[in-house]
């Protein structure tokens, strides 16, 4: 979220989030670039494999 807030803050010209500290530096400098390098469909597929209500039966509203 901090990385996303930095990007959006720059776009709208508002104060960015505070500078990362401690472990946050690792997440911002290593994890975020790696995460962003993975296309959304791949990330989405990984998230879908996690256990959760989304893997149960759900009937979606269908447009006629």
């Amino acid at each position: 979220m901090i990385a996303a807030q930095e990007k959006i803050a720059a776009k709208y010209g508002v104060t960015p989030p505070r500078r990362p500290r401690g472990q946050e530096i690792f997440w911002l400098r290593v994890y975020v670039p790696a995460y962003r390098a993975v296309p959304w469909p791949v990330r989405s597929a990984i998230m879908h494999r996690l256990p959760g209500s989304h893997r149960m039966t759900w009937t979606r509203t269908q447009r006629p």
Partner: protein, 444 residues
């Protein structure tokens, strides 16, 4: 013999479930266990009593205890369920021993996330939840001069507004860069923050809570940017699913830490349903589970759980999560994804923004309405929206939630028809303007 349906929890989901079950099976023995003194009131109204917009707490109650008894719903107040056994189909109840059930509905709600800092056991820390405690805290507020609201969550926004209305010097601390920084973007929430400052609030964004200081009762909040003296701290941390009993009973939980349910609100355990803040449900856009939604979601889920537990048929839908509130002097709202959240998740999106008006330009009381829409760049499907204005936000959020759920595209919104009536609607609908701007930005 009448079936016995036991409901754990007397909040919106639990009471919704009990009422729906009784409607399906009038002969059913329906028992609700709640650790609190009351059921069937609106905790969401508490900040507005504190802010003096609502004159008293009594108005928050939906029905009397006698009314529930008259409906045949047997509510056991101030009675804690200690656990349940899905094999033997019994609930262990403090003071009552084991109580058998034919169907069980878990509606155990949420707990605020532990701030995880020293001093969290001090007095003067207010967690807004129970109406009886809120009545007590309301008297305390009469003597409070300075308060700190911890975290700019939806409740945090409401409490900052309420405390300002109450004339209390209010500080807001939040590690994010702006208020409600997950659900909103800075251009949407900026008017809200400006209005809080006009009311004397001090906003400390990018500020992390490090402790509560005091001797018995809080006298200051310690933060990454120094101490803030206060008489009271309102802790508005994230709502976490209360799944303690469900997990202990072996009911499965998911990646959002809520109880896993299907569209009928049935859990992984036989004859056990669940509803409300203790469950997770899939999001209609991403199909990823989300948890900690609104009272209207909890009540609707309770209705589904109660209907099915009693033998009826009712299904719930994946959620688009419309939201809205009064914050400061503004109404803000939206549905599904903000630009910030879509960016954080890496979801491809295009953005269109427009500033329209709420009534005909010449009609008294006309106000600006800022609308931001997010769409998938390839399909043009609407995936999110945010709005700020002084009227007409809730209705637009509800409409846009249906648009997200049904897969409406930006092209369709750009050419939507709209009501034109000078006192209630302008010639150009702000949603259509934002959609047209989004398409222009894409060169369509």
């Amino acid at each position: 013999m009448a079936q016995r349906i036991v409901v754990l929890g007397g909040g919106a989901a639990g009471i919704g479930a009990a009422g729906a079950a009784k409607a399906v099976d009038a002969a059913a023995d329906i028992r609700v266990y709640t650790e609190f003194e009351d059921v069937g009131y609106s905790p969401c109204g508490i900040p507005y009593v504190h802010g003096k917009e609502i004159p008293d707490f009594e108005r928050l109650f939906l029905a009397t205890k006698e009314a529930y008894a008259g409906q045949g719903i047997d509510i056991h107040y101030e009675t804690r369920a200690a656990g349940f056994d899905t094999g033997r189909k019994v609930v262990s109840v403090a003071g009552e021993g084991e109580v058998g059930y034919d169907k069980l509905i878990v509606a155990t709600g949420f707990d605020y996330a532990d701030p995880g800092v020293p001093g969290a056991d001090l007095g003067g820390l207010y967690y807004v939840k129970n109406i009886r405690r809120a009545m007590e805290w309301d008297k305390v507020l009469d003597g409070v001069r300075t308060a700190v609201v911890v975290e700019a969550s939806p409740l945090g926004l409401e409490m900052v507004t309420a405390l300002c209305h109450r004339g209390i010097k209010t500080h807001l601390i939040d590690p994010g860069a702006w208020a409600l920084s997950v659900a909103t973007d800075p251009d949407i929430v900026a008017p809200v923050q400006d209005s809080w400052r006009e009311h004397g609030a001090e906003l400390h964004f990018g500020t992390t809570l490090t402790g509560f200081l005091g001797d018995g009762s809080v006298r200051a909040v310690a933060t990454s940017d120094g101490e803030i003296g206060c008489d009271l701290a309102v802790v508005c941390t994230k709502k976490q699913a209360n799944t303690v009993l469900a997990r202990a009973a072996g009911v499965r939980t998911g990646s959002a830490d809520g109880i896993i349910v299907d569209e009928r609100m049935h859990t992984s355990a036989p004859d056990v349903w669940a509803a409300g803040d203790c469950i997770e449900v899939p999001h209609s856009v991403t199909d990823i589970p989300v948890q900690g939604l609104s009272g209207s979601h909890a009540y609707a889920q309770g209705k589904v759980a109660g209907t099915n537990a009693a033998g009826g048929q009712r299904a719930y839908q994946p959620v688009s999560v419309p939201w809205g509130m009064v914050a400061g002097d503004w109404m803000i709202g939206g549905v599904s994804f903000s630009e910030t959240l879509a960016t954080a998740l890496g979801i491809p999106h295009a953005v269109g923004v427009a500033e329209g008006i709420s009534r005909a330009r010449y009609y008294p009381g006309v106000e600006k309405v800022r609308v931001k829409l997010l769409a998938e760049p390839k399909t043009f499907r609407l995936i999110g929206a945010q709005m700020v204005g002084r009227e007409g936000i809730k209705e637009r959020a509800d409409f846009l939630a249906m648009a997200v759920r049904t897969g409406i595209t930006i092209n369709e919104l750009a050419t939507m028809e709209n009501v034109y009536s000078p006192p209630i609607g302008a010639l150009n609908e702000p949603i259509a303007l934002a959609a047209q701007n989004l398409l222009s930005g894409l060169g369509s």
